[in-house]
């Protein structure tokens, strides 16, 4: 016999984001979050201090306390929610559309040589047009309302998702693909059971990139005529000379962007916990 075997750390595969209930583990996690907050809190404190001591002119650069008050005012009269919701919904709709198209076309060009040779050069050429340059045309074609905005965002989301996914498929280990071929898998089964799961970690990064661009494009879209949304709030703050409103909207963009990215990343992590990648030094898996 080959000797008796004792399982090593045979824990159930545990998805990250799923905190273990061990108190020491939880403390370490809290400590990590705390460390991440040190820099922004220090920066805010310095900023406030600069405003109070008069080093920073509060007329153009309002201190954090004034921004907080502005945010509270906007929240209490409901405007903050209306604008945030409008923007978030646009981003989500555009993201869904762009990510879907990017996934389908990315899979097609990544898997099929014929499809790739046919479409990839065109898509690569279109990618080099700054997507904002399409805006006037989109407004002519689809009007000034929601359709053109959502399509603008979708266009921004599409390219990173498309590029990352088709690239990820192309770099899947040939050996794994051959295992599927030895089982006589057809193309569809090959995609579903090997190519897609194997490219999932990279695909999630593509989706996160896409989402980030979606938040960028929603601002551009809302600048060009919107009656609600955080982009509208930005323009409104500029036109009425209220820098606190501008910075408050920027803060909301940061918050919402970070929040949606966090959700996407942790959903992604749930599907890619199996990765045998580099673990950051000093970190625990």
């Amino acid at each position: 016999m080959t000797g008796t075997l004792t399982p090593p750390s045979l824990r159930e595969p545990q998805a990250p984001g799923e905190t273990s209930s061990h108190p020491r583990e939880r403390r370490r996690r809290l400590g990590r979050v705390g460390l991440g907050l040190v820099v922004p809190i220090a920066a805010l404190a310095l900023w406030e201090l600069g405003a109070v001591t008069g080093v920073i002119s509060t007329r153009l650069i309002p201190p954090p306390s004034q921004i907080a008050t502005t945010l509270a005012d906007l929240a209490s009269d409901g405007a903050l929610w209306v604008h945030s919701l409008a923007t978030t919904l646009r981003v989500l709709a555009g993201f869904a559309l762009g990510a879907f198209a990017g996934t389908v076309l990315g899979a097609a060009t990544g898997v099929s040589n014929r499809f790739g040779t046919l479409f990839d050069p065109t898509l690569q050429a279109l990618r080099n047009i700054p997507s904002i340059a399409w805006t006037p045309l989109f407004i002519l074609w689809f009007g000034i309302f929601e359709t053109s905005k959502v399509l603008m965002i979708a266009l921004g989301v599409f390219f990173p998702v498309y590029l990352t996914f088709s690239g990820a498929i192309a770099s899947v280990d040939r050996g794994l693909v051959e295992v599927g071929k030895a089982y006589g898998f057809n193309t569809y089964t090959l995609i579903r059971r090997i190519l897609f799961p194997a490219s999932l970690p990279t695909y999630v990064i593509g989706l996160r990139n896409g989402l980030g661009l979606g938040w960028m494009f929603v601002v551009a879209a809302e600048f060009l005529g919107a009656s609600e949304g955080l982009g509208y709030l930005l323009v409104d703050g500029q036109q009425t000379g209220r820098p606190a409103v501008i910075i408050a909207s920027i803060a909301m963009f940061a918050l919402l962007g970070k929040l949606t990215d966090r959700v996407l990343a942790s959903v992604g992590a749930r599907f890619t916990y199996w990765q045998d990648g580099f673990v950051r030094e000093g970190a625990t898996r």
Binding site: T2, A182, Q275
Partner: protein, 255 residues
Amino acid sequence: MIELISVEKRYPSGLLAVSNIDLGVAEHEIVAVIGPSGCGKSTILRLIAGLEAPTSGTARVAGHDVHGPDQSVGIVFQQPRLMPWLTVEKNVAFGLGKGHESSPEVAEVIARVGLTPFAKALPRELSGGMAQRVAIARALVTRPPVLLLDEPFSALDAFTRIDLQTHLLEVWDWYRPTTFLVTHDIDEALILADRVVVLGGSPGSIQADITVDLDRPRSRTASSFHRLQDESMTALGRSRASQAVAEAARVEGVG
């Protein structure tokens, strides 16, 4: 059980990998193919597996011409090639389709390779030897009549390799599949196989066919083992010389 009839394989690049291969493997027999790298031994295995098609000649498995990958053949590659996102049992059940990971066949073959405690582990938690045992289990789960091994232990350290050779014979004893092993390790071939086929030349062709008439378990130190080592070594030496001559001739022809 396996038959190759005047098989020739030329790659689209024009490279003639093997030619004039006639080889038979009887049911329940273990045949090892050894030869220097580049002699086309892996090509022969891929032709039997249906992963490639011969340019001329026929490959037959279990009485049928090979026209592509077939469920009557299980393959173990040099690398374990486990799906890193699947647990051991799901990897073993990979070819059976979804939901089969808890079937008794899967549990049995995992027990046969001694990995029952690891059934729910991920590939990243396994050692190289354990991962290769999962690959063996995956190849055997449907009990295919033919087992193909493509340098299965050459990526492992010497101790693990010897362990796994012994282990393979135990697992093989389960239902004694007809086995075709490609290796570059003479000792491995002599420990495992009933016959050792020496491949050489360029394009590769069969140089010698040595019967290993030793009882199992075999001792690596017995004089009869040494005699066969010498015999294989000599045949291999001849084949390497002929390959060198062929390559030199080709270089001259080009230049």
